[in-house]
Amino acid sequence: MNDTTAQARFSFTALANPTRYLSYSGKILPWLGGLSALLLIVGLYMAFTAPEDYQQGITVRIMYVHVPAAWLAMMGYMVMAVSALGTLIWRHPLADVSIKAAAPIGAAFTFLALATGSLWGKPMWGTWWVWDARLTSMFVLFLMYLGVIALQRAMDDPVKAARPVAILVLIGTVNIPIIKFSVDWWNTLHQPAAVFRMDGPTIDPSLLWPLLIMAVGFTALFFFLHMVAMRTEIWRRRIASMRRASAREQRSTARPVLAE
């Protein structure tokens, strides 16, 4: 492929070159970080000044962290699933870096959603945890994130680990619709979806706006962290291959006879 044409149009194929990716992401990174910081500050301010719920009182403010974290937990897995397709179909060299970077972030958001949900459940439901469909499927999502991380860590060579990890991620995708529709399919203690509905959101605008701003802020934060982690991973792999190369060189200069 001609280098100038690839640079002319911004595409995923153009990003396949790690150096080009590093230069692009280096430019975007400060803006993305600033955007997420700004949105989170505004969102948190709005969340604390928003009116309290007439039934739940002040605990409704947990929602502004809990709901975006849960959305991001699922979105993180979808990012991994798309990257897995990239690894398996197009053999995109950065797709498996993307999976490796997204897995711990997604696991952290899932844990955040579970922990805040648990804190919210204690005053509202009277219990820290119930085994209903939504909570169980989120817990399964958390376990799947950990399984992906465990498989990645179990293999020394990241290039060899790419395809098995991608296959595992794709199989796990069957859980995502189960989480989404668990509140509709089963009778659960968890309330059904209130924002993304066919007949419009059922939340009052005074509560909805801070929630949406927090959600966009969390999304920007996710992609910011994802980009930082991907850059770190690319540099880590470069350092590892440089170390290997220099070790080979040293050995061949130290013992030229044995190296033959």
């Binding site: 399984g147 179990a154 060899k160 395809r163 098995p164 296959i167 199989i171």
Partner: protein, 221 residues
């Protein structure tokens, strides 16, 4: 394909007694429960189906890493993968799963009624639990095949297989136990969760071999 199933069954019956270890492990798990929760026969009878299911689940997970490991060690796995242009690899994996289930899963189902007696379960509950195990354990094998194929290249993949596979078998466990209780407790339905579990088994019997085939191919190049 039939030849492969017969070969694997013969190997499974002969080499190393993997089948016997699975049954013994199942027995040990069931025997530990009364020590843990106390020998209250009413309580044991009530939680019996769930305990039998968990025991069978753990026992089937135990044998999973042997599914491809033995073949990899003596090199026949490479031959099976290379034959991929004659028989689709997914079909080969399916045959291996069937043989593996016949040698490790089916014996667990057969001994489960005897263990149900140890748990002081009613006859209807024993029958229902065995029926759900019969329909549900193949799903565990098919999902597990994927995990085993992903971990086949690793030196100590055994524990990793269980960690990776467990999240996926939770739905099977839920519907299996639900159906087993549905047969005993009156308001709870039996047919509906049982059919859902059969659907899961069929679903994974397609998805599992395909994913395992892809993973095996990826591990060989």
């Amino acid at each position: 394909m039939t030849a492969l199933i017969l070969r694997d069954i013969r190997l499974g019956l002969r080499a190393g007694g993997g089948m016997l270890i699975g049954i013994l492990f199942f027995l040990a798990v069931i025997a530990v429960v009364p020590f843990g929760v106390g020998p209250d026969l009413n309580l044991l009878g009530r939680i019996g189906p769930a305990i039998l299911w968990i025991g069978a689940l753990l026992a089937s997970l135990l044998g999973l890493d042997r599914l491809f490991q033995a073949d990899r060690e003596d090199g026949s796995l490479d031959i099976l993968i290379l034959q991929g242009h004659e028989h689709p690899l997914a079909l080969t994996v399916f045959a291996k799963c069937v043989a593996h289930w016949l040698t490790t899963g089916l014996p667990l189902v057969i001994v489960s009624p005897a263990l149900g007696l140890l748990m002081n379960m009613q006859p209807a509950a024993i029958l229902a639990t065995s029926a759900t195990l019969l329909a549900g354990t193949p799903a565990i094998t098919f999902i597990g095949a994927t995990g085993a194929a992903l971990a086949v290249a690793l030196p100590r993949g055994g524990l990793l297989v269980s960690v990776m596979v467990l999240p996926f078998v939770i739905p099977v466990l839920i519907f299996g136990v639900m159906a087993a209780y549905g047969a005993v407790e009156n308001p709870a339905p039996f047919t509906q969760p049982f059919l859902l579990m059969c659907a899961l088994t069929l679903f994974f019997s397609v998805l599992g071999p395909f994913a395992a085939g892809a993973a095996l191919k990826a591990s060989s190049d």
